[in-house]
Point group: C2
């Protein structure tokens, strides 16, 4: 909506109508939550067969007794599955525990404390990560926690602004890494174009040797539409450019099997994996191989995985449609958003300066939104406009109500701004 489009008295009338609607919603004493990218109960139930799937046989096809100690890199079967998801051979994969976040933190710690050729990030003056924004708050927290500074670059529909990334790397030797969610990005839903992937694979040529891309392919197989977007293979691109050491890849089954009890993967070059394995050997007895075997039995091959993900897609798609319908029907004039073809989020940009206000209005009407700013480093959205909508967890009725509140709050915040 445009302040020129309505006369002041029309604006006032609209404000009154919206306030009435808003107050009526408040009276419903709702308690709704669209904050986090959590799968719904219906989704996690799809993997209920995991418990009991071993049927008393704890020995892997590779002959490993999964109950006992050992095998730091995880079951070969699990590394193979991770390799299929990430597009690398089994030999380039280590299988981890129930979340890739721990793997990302551990890899960051490896570089921070010890580094490549002993060039530890902590020894640099202001080690800095490039953070495409809006992005994922937990990535930013890892940096903040290790005192790694963050420089933002804008996300476009084809991925991060690569001109800016390349220029930063050429001028800032203290840049040690870059966060990437290359497919159905959190939160914009965009996927990196082939050109972007190619240019990222080439960063290793212009960056310092301690620079690492953290390629968090969290939504690698989380397609909603029938024809999945095809992401170029970063590993192959790195091989062509001899920059294999410059990229760490991550994925997990958190939004495939159980959100809190899946398995995870990290992939990288031989020398990267060897260095990581050394740290792993100090910090852990190895990941839960029994759970790895369970996942192998549930997903013995890629086609089992794909057909499982289709069931997720059917559930998630209905929810994305509810959100997009409200945005399209109600909020065309009040902001813009991406029509994600996969992943877990829809990213909404209000008019500048309104996100915190919308969050507050929604909260007072019983709807919890992801805190405004969360999609930016240090929780600071310089334009105060980005709101991440996570539609998957609530049931359809709750989501419909949540979006009704959301629409009223966005409109009310916008109209009030133009009135004052």
């Amino acid at each position: 909506m445009n302040s020129q489009s309505l006369a002041p008295e029309q604006l006032q009338t609209l404000e009154t109508e919206l306030t009435t609607a808003y107050e009526a919603l408040k009276k419903e004493n709702l308690k709704l939550d669209i904050t986090r990218g959590k799968p719904s109960t219906e989704q996690v139930s799809l993997a209920d067969n995991l418990d009991g799937i071993l049927n008393g046989n704890f020995i892997s096809d590779s002959g490993i007794d999964t109950r006992n100690y050992g095998h730091l890199r995880g079951l070969p079967e699990s590394c193979k599955l991770g390799g299929e998801i990430l597009g690398v051979p089994e030999s380039q994969v280590i299988t981890g525990g129930n979340g890739s976040l721990s793997l990302m933190h551990s890899v960051a710690l490896l570089h921070y404390l010890y580094g490549y050729n002993n060039q530890a990030w902590q020894q640099l003056d202001k080690p800095t990560f490039i953070c495409p924004v809006p992005g994922y708050d937990r990535h930013f927290s890892i940096c903040e926690n290790l005192n790694i500074e963050m420089i933002t670059v804008p996300m476009t529909e084809a991925g991060p602004d690569m001109d800016m990334v390349e220029s930063l790397l050429k001028t800032h030797p203290n840049i040690v890494g870059m966060w990437c969610v290359p497919k159905y990005s959190n939160p914009t839903g965009s996927s990196y174009s082939s050109e972007t992937v190619e240019r990222i694979a080439k960063l290793g040529k212009i960056a310092q040797p301690y620079f690492r891309v953290f390629w968090d392919n969290a939504y690698a197989i989380h397609t909603i539409e029938e024809s999945p977007e095809k992401l170029s293979n970063i590993w192959h691109a790195c091989q062509e450019n001899s920059t294999e050491d410059s990229v760490w890849q991550f994925a997990s089954s958190s939004k495939v099997s159980f959100a809190g009890a899946g398995i995870s993967w990290v992939a990288g070059s031989d020398s990267n994996l060897q260095a990581f394995e050394k740290l792993l050997g100090v910090t852990t007895i190895g990941s839960d191989k029994v759970n790895q075997l369970r996942h192998h039995r549930l997903f013995p091959n890629r086609s089992a995985l794909v057909s499982h993900m289709q069931k997720h897609a059917n559930i998630v798609q209905a929810k994305f449609e509810i959100v997009l319908k409200v945005l399209n029907d109600e909020l065309q004039e009040y902001g813009h958003w991406t029509e994600a073809k996969g992943g877990y989020f829809i990213s909404f940009d209000s008019q500048p300066g309104l996100a915190k206000n919308i969050e507050k209005l929604a909260s007072e009407a019983g709807l919890k939104l992801t805190p405004a700013g969360a999609t930016f480093p240090y929780g600071k959205d310089p334009e105060d406009r980005n709101i991440r909508i996570a539609p998957t967890f609530p049931c359809v009725e709750e989501l419909e109500k949540a979006m009704e509140i959301f629409a009223v709050c966005v409109k009310l915040a916008t109209v009030r701004k133009h009135l004052h």
Copy 2:
């Protein structure tokens, strides 16, 4: 054996006999391993019911859907179980993933990077841990990996030499921590006396505020004999001395359920746990709650746990007896050892300067021993005499053969030393 006890020609005859026996054993081309404290297949099988135990019900008694995200501290039921093992209320426990080693590393990292009242260990000049020796190599590796120096104090049958510990703390402000395995210690099998526990609880009064005891109660319930040794409650002792912040406790079900797929616990004061939870929130999505629920179903209360541990004891006791019989029958004159009443190890001390040699002889005869020196920081046993025997993993026949080789190697190394 004593070099004065035999005439030179008798020694030579003995050497010839032992060499013949040794060469005969070598010809058997054996491949035996008593290096690590691994439960046997028979032992891990005791918990096979874990898989499938949920019977489709993933909701905890506390009403948590274990499949989804959230609940960083773990299931209340699991914290309660950990509290029973460690002797603290449920409120003082966080339940972790499949190994307490990760928890220990994370807690060390917490203090190293951030510290107590922002007094991070890394900011001190040569932060140092007190390490009772012989001790556990993986503890030492955590220190070495974080560049934390180590000072050793001798283990006695009542625990670490506390006079030395107290004196070190009074004179060395850079001492930041101390490793303890208070019950059936790794490797000596000794348990700390009530007096030792009391004195450790008082260390917080003489130490710097950033000093922490790492109380790794790995064998809390791993009794072999019928009447378990009673370890004084360190938490209660700390409460009496108002030193609750000075002790972190750890335990796991690794040697209760599955070695590689159990659950683990860390216990501490409110302020310690709050600080740790903050770090956990950055580094993990939380531990595997489905596996926590499985463990709760298998061990709904302490008595279920105790009767399960009795089954372990029956298996382990037979193996300890094999080792002790050989030591008592054959090696009285060649070294000394502890008769552990629980835990996973028997610690053998040869005459000084022989451990590496015994390890080498054994290895050449097909028996892998824990590397000599492994029970000391940096792998350096100053007297080169300690060998940790881990009898649990091999089957009875293999263990008997392993001990036959061990005895011949110890004797041969000793006799040869006296001959030269």
